[in-house]
């Protein structure tokens, strides 16, 4: 009786075992089938399937921000009369370039009735003039001298972007049909309780092409990473919701699931799933995905 039971048990277990092995065998084959597409080179050529070799590369991540150009507060001088008096003469017009020490006007003091000069304390351009001969100079601003050789771009950095933006990052500033490369000097919270911060970038404006109050956009180089493995971003296709790259081996194209690192839109870092020297499909990788999923649609279920 006992031996019979044992035999039955053995038989059942062997059955189970063989069933398991069949099932797993099936499974492996299934996996293989699922990830492989075979296309002859001639057809691949016709279909314009292009490949590249996996290698190291530099990934330049960028972020676009918008802002305005403003004057440097240190580069604006509002000149008033030291003693109240009558303006006797004015030497400059709006737009005149003045040097530090140049006399801008003469005023006769009410108290001493002496004539004294009003001088520019910094070099720059006269941007405002509120003085004419004969007028009284009380405590109003007579001249505003501004230096536009250096102006600032203040970019709005929203909370979601703040962790990526740091001082020292390179920015390409574009506006009014020109662009210039500079660096983020510092990041300050915005005034008036606005929800964003300001990233301030100095623009060297010796050419005078930039003005203040201009809306500018900035491409911030957030990070430049030397990646050990990069692929062309158009090579990556989502298969079953996972990013995959097709590796060519003769006429066999195998889908490799990859772990994606950083990306700058052109190149994407691959953390795992590929090896240096792998030949992978860049252009028309969609065809391979299409072929894979088409097979899946009709045979996979």
């Amino acid at each position: 009786m006992k031996s019979v039971t044992i035999k039955v048990l053995l038989f059942v277990s062997s059955l189970l075992g063989s069933w398991n092995s069949i099932a797993s065998g099936d499974h492996d084959e299934h996996e293989e089938n699922e990830k492989k597409v075979i296309i002859t080179d001639a057809i691949a050529d016709q279909s314009m399937i292009k490949t590249e070799i996996v290698g190291p590369g530099v990934i330049n991540e960028q972020l676009k921000v918008y802002g305005k150009t403003v004057n440097d507060p240190s580069q604006v001088s509002h000149i008033r009369a030291r003693f109240p008096g009558t303006v006797e003469s004015v030497n400059v017009q709006i737009g005149d370039v003045v040097k530090s020490g140049n006399t801008l006007a003469h005023i006769e003091s009410n108290e001493s009735l002496k004539r004294y000069p009003v001088k520019a304390l910094m070099s720059g351009v006269i941007v405002a003039r509120h003085a004419n001969p004969g007028e009284m100079a009380l405590d109003q601003v007579l001249f505003t001298v501004a230096d536009f050789e250096k102006i600032w771009a203040e970019f709005q950095v929203f909370p979601g972007q703040l962790n990526q933006i740091k001082s020292g990052q390179q920015v390409t500033i574009t506006g009014a049909g020109q662009s210039v490369i500079s660096k983020i000097e510092h990041i300050i919270p915005s005034q008036n309780e606005k929800p964003y911060s300001l990233a301030r970038v100095l623009i060297d404006n010796q050419s005078g092409g930039w003005t203040t109050g201009l809306l500018v956009s900035g491409n911030v180089n957030i990070k430049s990473t030397d990646a050990a493995l990069v692929v062309n971003s158009q090579a990556i296709q989502l298969v079953d919701g996972k990013p995959m790259v097709f590796v060519k081996n003769g006429s066999e194209y195998t889908a490799h699931a990859i772990e994606v690192g950083r990306s700058d839109g052109q190149l994407t870092e691959v953390l795992s799933g590929l090896e240096i020297g792998d030949e992978y499909v860049t252009q028309n990788s969609y065809l391979l995905k299409a072929d894979l999923e088409k097979a899946g649609a009709s045979h996979d279920h």
Binding site: V37, S47, F158, V216, K289, D291, A297
Partner: protein, 1033 residues
Amino acid sequence: MIESIIKASIKRRVLVMAGVFVLIGSGIWNFQKLPIDAVPDITNVLVQINTEAPGYSPLESEQRITYPVETALAGTPNLSYTRSLSRYGLSQVTVVFEEGTDLYFARSLINERLGAIKSLLPDGLEPQMGPVATGLGEIFMYTVEAEAGYLQKDGTQFDATELREIQDWIIKPQLSLVPGVTEVNSIGGFNKQYHVNPSPEKMLSFEISFEDINQALTLNNANVGAGYVETNGQQILIRSPGQLKTIEDIENVVVKNIGHAPIKIKDIAEVGIGKELRTGAATQGGVETVLGTAMMLVGENSRAVAQAVAEKLEEIKKTLPEGVVIDSVYDRTTLVDKAIWTVQKNLTEGALLVIVILFLLLGNFRAALITAAVIPLAMLATISGMVESGVSANLMSLGALDFGLIVDGAVIIIENSIRRLAKAQKDQGVLSLKQRLDVVFSATNEVIRPSLFGVIIITVVYIPLFSLTGVEGKMFHPMASTVVMALLSALVLSFTFIPAAIALFMTGKVSEKESVIIRGAKSIYQPMLETALKLRWLVLACALILVGFAGWLSTKLGSEFIPELNEGDIAMHAMRIPGTGLEQAIQMQKVLEEKILEFPQVAKVFAKIGTPEVATDPMPPNVADNFIMLKPRDQWPDPSLTQTELVKQIEEAVNQLPGNNYEFTQPIQMRFNELISGVRADLGIKVFGDDLDQLLKSSNEILEVIEQIEGVADARVEQVTGLPMLSVKPNRVALSRYGINVADVQHVITTAIGGQNAGIIYEGDRRFEIKIRLDESLRSDLNRLSELPVPLVDGSYVPLSEVAVISLAPAPNQVSRENGKRRVVVTANVRERDLGSFVDEAKLKISTDVKLPAGYWLDYGGTFEQLESASKRLSIVVPITLTIIFGLLIMAFSSVKDALIIFTGVPLALTGGVISLWLRGMPFSISAGVGFIALSGVAVLNGLVMLSFIRELLKKTGDLYHSVVNGAMTRLRPVLMTALVASLGFVPMALNTGTGAEVQRPLATVVIGGIISSTVLTLFVLPILYKLVNRNR
């Protein structure tokens, strides 16, 4: 009554002849009006309601449009069912009405209902009814192309936008005027649009929103009329033109003033001719093209309309800009002509064979001619009848005409008249007119009863066909009515024209040489009959065994609805995964078409991708209808290659190309399948329910089951999911912080990506939309989408990513509904196996292996439906008809016994039909069924002729044995003749390989096989049975 008619016909024979000429005249006149087509139009009374909803995703268009439309239609009188499809940017509801509903009535009902729900639909969406056309409506397709080396007036190359403009504004308006054309549908190229592409930076810097631009454009683009003034008796109209005309005009529209400086459109935006966000494209030979389809109005003559379209296109060609050509790629005339040629060839050859046989067997040339004259006369009468009853000439309606059958009645009369005339001449020398007329009268009268009954019976057997409804009804009603008309006119001719003609023309010496064949046959037949009479039990047993064998064999035959008409062209669906873009699809199409063109048999290949302007055939961009037009067979390297084989080769070749799945069918067949059941395959298993995921799960289970069944091909689940969708989900808390609403964000996205209408530019009759939309380089870069600035009230901005969550996920690709319920279809075609048994097996396996949750159910559709419903109906009506025949026989003989004897002819006749089908490897189809019907008629007719004569003899002589033998011997000739003409008349049909022959082949095969067996029966078994039954008298 008949007697007096015969008498009158003989007496007033010249008058009868005059009547015949009237018949000829009216026949020829009617022939000019006869609509000619390849196949009968089998589409049901249906109306498509299309609602274009630009930008709507499938779920939205189901919820916002399809559902209200479907609900509104519920309860429409004569409604059969509705089905619907909700896709990206489109909602299509197909309303099918009961058979016989007037289409225009149906359309006005729908119109009324749609009017009532207009307020329930989202603003700006307008449901429209599809063209007044049926599945057969796409009769002509052409492409508009630019020849190499020609430039436009402004020196640039013709591109897809210009070609489309030519199609829409030069070709289409002219073509729409062709009588019988109801719609000219365009696909491919781009609708010309004026695009205003603002730069987000500039908009921000000037604090201008999309709305500002839109407003500026709308408020500065109108002409107004201001009435008139009368000055010095003169009336002067006043108008103020303010419409924008050119790109420059648009550029100079002022959007805003800052300080005193006007900000113009050109300060903030690029203006140019842009491309619409199209839903469909067309290619030919691997190159993108513009494809026009002329659709025929319901009930028109497709051949005539297609020809008129072709002629009109020739005229239009002259009006096109130099270098632009129209290439007609599909012309229904070709198919119709080929099919009609096949029918014509069959009929002519059949008629010739019949005449030859008549001459050989009658041995009298004049008599043969008179009989043969019945053929064209009956045909002309039939044509008049067809025109009167609105039946078109096509493969089906003319497919069952057998001149052999038609002249059967006439043959019997002629044969007897000649025999009697010859006998009388032998006895009395040359006959006087009176004598001759008397002989003709009595000879006719002698056989008129059996021949009348015979023909009536053959007619009656076609009656079951009239009981078919739906698609099968539309297919076979014309066939039945044509045959019945032909038979009836032949019948009338046989007792009017025939006696009159004999009386008129069979003057002088009537030579009735028993032809060699008949003499030979008689010399063989007599001993054989005598032997058979001796070995009667053996013969009867053999017959019984044969019937039993055939009965068994018939269960082994497969079944199909009707054999497929070989249209001579191939339609191939190329299917890609959902979410494949149009441009990508065009790329794939290029490679595919180049591959197909490598075949030397292929003349042209063109394709429609996605949905045309009028969504008569809505497809997503990932599906392309490829039309492969083949060269005439004689230009093939191997003309004997079958089309199936060629399709196989093409399939093999294109399967190498990555990313495509294929389905092969034919242009007309494709539209039929689709329109009839909404399913493009032989079998469609519909799963109904609510939850899309559950529907998909159950469908996949079903797919798994049917994939195991032998004979399955192209099995797949409807692509309902897998459309990649980028959702921009507004973050309400963040929005409130910046003081804007969800709608503001959505507005920015729709305008930036989809574009916003901002008026129309008129160029004469032509009108083009102005669209505000971001530049292609900005809108197509998904990475940049998160940086899209959303303007705030105070003039500042916030990036989109700050106020919305952007995520990419697959979403439903389409939502199909039927009768107001969601459904997913599993389709399968059947190859190398008959449809009927496949469906039975599939049903059984699914019911045992697939468990559906509560609230979910299955329905089976596809072409097999027709087979099933036809079989069901026939299984009721055929027995009834047989009973009627039996009743007629009893009437004819006033004897149940004799009627029964004749009736035994039916099973033996069917035996031959079954065996011949089996020998040719054909499955049972409704066409073959019609063959069996015809066969029972012929079998009865033969028996009738034979038996009535034996009976007469028996009555005269009272000697049973000699009556049987002599009667049989005398009737050998007419029996052989009717059998031979009936079967030979079908021989060309059975052997023809031309276009459309496959539809007629089973019918002809059955009749030929059956007549052979039935003749043998009539000649041997019938006399035996008669003798057995009457031995006790």
